[in-house]
Symmetry: C2
DNA sequence: TAGATTGTTAATCGATTAACAATC
DNA sequence: TAGATTGTTAATCGATTAACAATC
C-alpha cells in the first residue's frame, strides 16, 4: 500500500487541510469531487492535489474524480487519525484548562484523560469532567490509561524537565504549547504550537514595506 | 536597505525562531555568535543561517560573527516587532480569556486592549484587567484605541461573519485561532493557528509505518 | 600577518506545475 | 463512443547546501 518514497512535510500539512475541508463538505450531498473543483475551493492547484493524493495511494476514478468518503477514509488512515489516541495535559493552568474544556479533540478521537499539575490547590478539581492529578501519579496513570500523547502547557523554566519526565514515562508523542523548543530522543515525535512564532509572522506580513506574499 | 528579492515563507518562520532564540541567549554574556555556533545550537545549517541573515541585510563581521544585539534589532525591525501592535480578542470564551490572561504578548509589544463578545453575562467582566465589551462597540473601540490586530476565538459557525466585521472595521491583521480558514481581501493579512492541523500532523509522525521525518 | 568567518555565487536537491497518455 | 479526469512523467521553479573569495 505505501510506497517507500518519503512524503514531504508540506504534503502532510496539506493532507491535514484536505481532511478538515472534506469533513466540512461531508454534510452536503456531493459525494464525488474533482481535483479541479477541490483546488478551486481551497486555492491549491489541481496538479498538486493529485500529486498529494497519489503520494499516499490510488483512489481516484479517471474521468470522474475522487469519492469523498474514500478520500476521507484514506487520508485519515494515512495520518493515523482513524484510531483513538489518549492524551494527557501537563500543566493545569489557563491554557491546559482551556484545552481540557474543548470537546473538539475528543470528537475526532483524541480524548484528554487527565490533567497533571504540582499545585495542591488544583489537584482533585475537575475540568469538563477531567480530573487534575498530582504529577507524581504520572507514570502509573500513563500505563493504566494507555496514554500516547502528552500536551505540554507549562512555563518555560520547567518545560525541558517535564519533557524528560514524559519521555521517561514512555510517551511517544508530545504536543508542545510551551514558549520554547524541546529536546527529545529520535523515537519521540514532537509537534509544537508556538504562539510567538505565529504572532511574529503576522507582524511581518503586516509590515508595510513588504507587501507581497501569500500564505 | 531592503533588496527587492521577495523573502520566502520558510525564511520568515526561521527568522522568528532566531529572534526567539537570541532573546533567550541575551541574558548571557556572549555578545558575538558565528553562524556555525548558532547553527549547531539550533540544528540549522550555518550556510542557511547566513543566507537568511543576508536576505534582510548585512550585519555580520567577517572573521568574527554576528553581534547578538544588532542581530536581534535587525530581525525585530524586519519583522516589524520593534513597535507596538494593539490587539483585541473576538470571542471571550475559554480560549479568548486564556490569551487575555497571558502576559507574554504585551511584554513583546502586542498588548490586548479589549475582549469582545455578545453574551450579556460576560460583558463588563474584566480578565487580567482587560474588559469584555459588547460587540456593537467594536468599530469605535478600534478607532479610539488604534487597534491593528484582531484575534479570532469564536466557534466556526460565526467565524466568517466576525471576520467580515473586523475587515469592515478596518483591521489589517487577523490572528485566527478558529477551526476553519477565513476569506479576506488582499490587503488584510491572516495568520492561522489551527489546532486540528497540528494535532493531525503529530498523529502522522507517530504513525508507526512511517518512521522517517524530522520536523 | 594568519586565522576565522562572513557574503555571495554555483551546484544540488526538492517541491510545484505542466503536459499528456491511460482509462473510467 | 466521446468527454472528463485521473495517474504519472517531464519541465520548471524555488530552497538548501557547498564552496570560496573577500575581509575583518
Amino acid at each position: 500500500m505505501e510506497k517507500d518514497k518519503t512524503i514531504s512535510n508540506t504534503t502532510i500539512r496539506r493532507l491535514t487541510k484536505y481532511y478538515r475541508y472534506i469533513e466540512e463538505l461531508d454534510l452536503k450531498e456531493t459525494s464525488i469531487i474533482s481535483s479541479y473543483t477541490l483546488g478551486k475551493m481551497m486555492g491549491i492547484s489541481p496538479s498538486l492535489i493529485r500529486q498529494d493524493f497519489n503520494a499516499i495511494g490510488e483512489f481516484g476514478r479517471q474521468g470522474h474524480g475522487y469519492n469523498l468518503d474514500t478520500l476521507k477514509k484514506e487520508i485519515g488512515e494515512f495520518l493515523g487519525i482513524n484510531k483513538i489516541h489518549n492524551m494527557i495535559v501537563i500543566g493545569a493552568g489557563n491554557l491546559g484548562q482551556t484545552l481540557a474544556n474543548y470537546d473538539g479533540f475528543a470528537k475526532v478521537g483524541f480524548p484528554i484523560k487527565g490533567l497533571f499539575d504540582i499545585n495542591p490547590k488544583l489537584i482533585g478539581m475537575k475540568i469538563n469532567g477531567i480530573e487534575i492529578i498530582d504529577l507524581d501519579q504520572l507514570n502509573s496513570f500513563i500505563k493504566d490509561n494507555n496514554i500516547d500523547i502528552g500536551i505540554l502547557c507549562v512555563r518555560k523554566h520547567c518545560v525541558q524537565q517535564m519533557t524528560d519526565i514524559l519521555v521517561d514515562a514512555g510517551i511517544k508523542g508530545i504536543w508542545n504549547f510551551s514558549a520554547i523548543d524541546i529536546d527529545v530522543p529520535d523515537d519521540v515525535k514532537v509537534e509544537s504550537v508556538n504562539f510567538s512564532n505565529s504572532l511574529f509572522t503576522l507582524s511581518y506580513l503586516m509590515n508595510d514595506k513588504y507587501t507581497n506574499q501569500k500564505s
